[in-house]
Symmetry: C2
Subunit: 345 residues, 2 copies
């Protein structure tokens, strides 16, 4: 079959590899119907050291179960499924506490002998915990929105969930990428009164406005910070949803935070150390949280909103490529020509 690998910064290749096979009775082989390129894929696309061994790419997918392992109980051959961007058994103690991305039997696609989803097919470990059957046909108009439940929309949702966004609050969203826009939509769904979107790409912030942003701040750094403080009457934002992952975004986040406020991060941090002392978090009783979204915890609850058309998170996709041209999707997202690229193998 054909599958996508990254060999270094900017070097994405589609190659012929052996078809995936069942390795444990809890595995399932899934034929990929839709995949996509993630904002987090752009981090190695910028910085990966050149390597003779390619890294399998892709972790978001819709597919059809081709071959369920002998212990798989909840999906059958032929079922149309959403795959969560990380796999989990959904039964361990951490899963039951709602943190499936820390599952003791879980893991990440593209690592440890598990392939990626930008491929014709992939092996899904812990299939019972990691595949969710969806009652639609493989050519449904809902595919783009259903695909966002694999990662991007529910990552924005996770940010708002961890921050416990509630009615009447002011929420600042940092980043107008697909996750940032998803965070706007999720904050609106939770009743945020005012949503300040920090981003400078007009076509993106326009979608953000449609999804609930009440204000757009294109300025960055000190200037952006001053603008948000001005918009909030000098008080700052109850909640900041940080959907970028670079340290300047974090610095902005604590700079615009109201006393007692919450910074929820879902942009994968590209830094390890940052300020958390008296002058940044402690002095104002700030809360910092967020992390890899346990989308499995949310998917059952949000699925009806997509199936019944109350939300349309699939609008983040503005480009479609076939698998052979997946590198075009990376390039277009990297140059900001595309917000998010759908892959239709």
């Amino acid at each position: 079959m054909r599958a996508t690998f990254m060999y270094g910064a900017g070097d994405v290749r589609v190659e012929e590899v052996p078809d995936p096979t069942i390795q444990a009775p809890t595995d399932a082989i899934v034929r990929v119907v839709r995949a996509c390129v993630c904002g987090s894929d752009l981090h190695p696309y910028h910085g990966m050291q050149a390597s003779s061994e390619g890294a399998p790419m892709g972790h978001e997918f819709l597919g059809v179960v081709e071959d369920p392992g002998s212990d798989v109980r909840t999906v059958r051959k032929g079922d149309f499924v959403i795959g969560t961007f990380a796999f989990q058994d959904n039964t361990c103690e951490f899963c039951r506490e709602g943190f499936q991305t820390s599952c003791v039997n879980g893991g990440w696609y593209g690592a440890g002998g598990v392939g990626g989803a930008q491929a014709e097919a992939l092996r899904v470990p812990q299939a019972d915990g990691s595949l969710i059957r969806v009652p639609v046909s493989v050519d449904s108009d809902l595919l783009p929105s259903l695909l966002t439940l694999s990662d991007v929309y529910l990552t924005g949702y996770h940010a708002a969930h961890m921050a416990r966004v509630r009615a009447g609050q002011t929420v600042t969203v940092i980043g107008d990428g697909a996750v940032g826009l998803s965070a706007v939509l999720a904050a609106r769904q939770r009743g945020a009164e005012r949503i300040i979107l920090m981003g400078r790409h007009r076509s993106r912030t326009d979608l953000g406005r449609e999804w609930g942003a009440t204000d757009v701040v294109p300025e960055r750094g000190e200037e952006g910070l001053a603008r948000v403080m001005e918009l909030t009457g000098g008080k700052g934002s109850h909640v900041v949803l940080e959907a970028v992952g670079h340290r300047p975004a974090y610095e902005t986040a604590h700079g615009v935070l109201r006393p007692g406020g919450v910074i929820s991060r879902v942009g994968v941090p590209q830094y390890e150390e940052a300020p958390i002392g008296f002058g940044s978090l402690f002095g104002r009783n700030a809360t910092l949280n967020g992390g890899p979204a346990p989308v499995r915890a949310y998917i059952d609850q949000v699925l009806p909103d997509v199936l019944e058309g109350r939300i349309d998170p699939g609008r983040v996709f503005d480009m479609t490529v076939d698998l052979e041209h997946v590198a075009d999707g990376y390039r277009a997202m990297d140059s900001r020509e595309s917000l998010k690229a759908l892959v239709a193998p």
Copy 2:
């Protein structure tokens, strides 16, 4: 009157100064009945640059209102009161949200022309928000426990409150100082099932055990971390209450945290930057919070527990000095001979 000043590391002096006077109609002058030395006073006691100008010391007190300003409505001359360790109007937006230490009209004792509480008397700004009348006599046996509501017990309480400690959880408390022991007591009051106290001073950890600690870990660093992980079956602690303020304590905190867990800090951080990336907080969806305790938010609720004898947080005091000998209190706390020194002017 006599009042305490610090002139540099280890240099605490009691000096004659003019009596405090009303400067705003919302002030009150309070005669100090009991004060004490705070663990946070030991930070400048270790590291303050020598200065020709002394810093007024002390921020925890019980007292009697001597002279209420003309706009003060809730206390009268002769009232016996608890003073909160920071002052606040208790009416601004941030106060109403429960973060009185960020009051727009608030501030700290010993700074900006406001004196300290290790003195015969002090001026209390925003007296209506900062003084709480208590229906006991000035020679009540409850004075030590009432004094802890000025800061130390409610700082431990704040840690447990911010972490939302709940029944059935495992809570690790880092630090066997007066705040750490208070955090043990507060976690127990909230129903924590298992409380692991990290501390190495036997007399202190014994009090911790009386107050609810189920396990004591004297080891520090990697060894202490391994011990807590072993005690929790490799899963880590739902909550860590960090009551030290040095960076190694924070490193231990994220090291022993369970996925989805909460680190609540009340030790004033003696560092600004620290790890918060994928390997420390983000990867496991950790929450970090805490800060200066808004004791005003909790005092009405906890006061009955003290007045009716359900808790006895005043047991943290194991030494009493008069005002002239306050430096002995600093010395004894610094050398760990004393857990916390009460000052009876």
